[in-house]
């Protein structure tokens, strides 16, 4: 198995775990919990899980491009990654649009959206893009739909 494929599988597993843990924490805390000072602990735990995960992901990308095993990522791996980035960008923007318009619609009568939703959208975007990208890399890799 190539290094790129291994990394995509590891990223999928890691971000799926982070996503489930974050969802459980948010459900446990609730929207009000995220918006109140007492929800500080939940916010700290979420930040402590998600932000290092994102930074480690960047470090892995750097390592595969510049580290000892840089030669193990070839032109096809780079094409797959590039195509995954293009598709992930469109999907994430569409998701952001749909969630925003959904919140607008749901809270139109009240005239204000609970501030907890902003927190969920901010960290949710990081988790979503970090999970989506390796999943797309694997799909594109196995389907063989890129060319050099």
């Amino acid at each position: 198995m190539s290094l790129a494929r291994k990394l995509a599988i590891i990223s999928c597993a890691a971000w799926l775990t982070i996503g489930i843990a974050s969802t459980l924490l948010i459900v446990d805390s609730g929207l009000d919990g995220l918006a109140s000072p007492s929800g500080d602990r939940t916010r700290s735990i979420l930040a402590a899980i998600i932000l290092p995960g994102y930074l480690i992901g960047f470090a892995l990308i750097w390592w595969t491009r510049n580290g000892q095993r840089a030669g193990e990522i070839d032109e096809r791996d780079k094409k797959v990654e590039s195509r995954a980035t293009e598709i992930a960008t469109i999907i994430v923007l569409l998701t952001f649009f749909l969630v925003s318009i959904g919140l607008y619609d749901a809270y139109l009568d009240r005239g204000a959206v609970p501030v907890g939703w902003l927190y969920i959208m901010a960290y949710g975007t990081i988790v979503w893009v970090s999970l989506l990208h390796p999943v797309l890399r694997l799909i594109i890799d196995f389907s063989g739909t890129v060319d050099g």
């Binding site: 190539s2 193990e72 070839d74 032109e75 096809r76 791996d77």
Partner: protein
Amino acid sequence: MAKARIKNRIRELREAAEMTQSQLAKSCGCTRQTIIMLEQERYVPSLSLAFGIAGVFDVRIDDVFKPG
């Protein structure tokens, strides 16, 4: 626009040269997965990789790749 397909003789040339996919991948600086995809004609390589592959077999590029 229809996707251009390129046929290749990589498997035939590799077997004639008694090389494994890993050896060929190492010789032309790509991964074994890329060689597998090339042999299945599910990947069209860049010009530099195509020249690299032809160079490994010491043949002309159009002896390896043909329009499909």
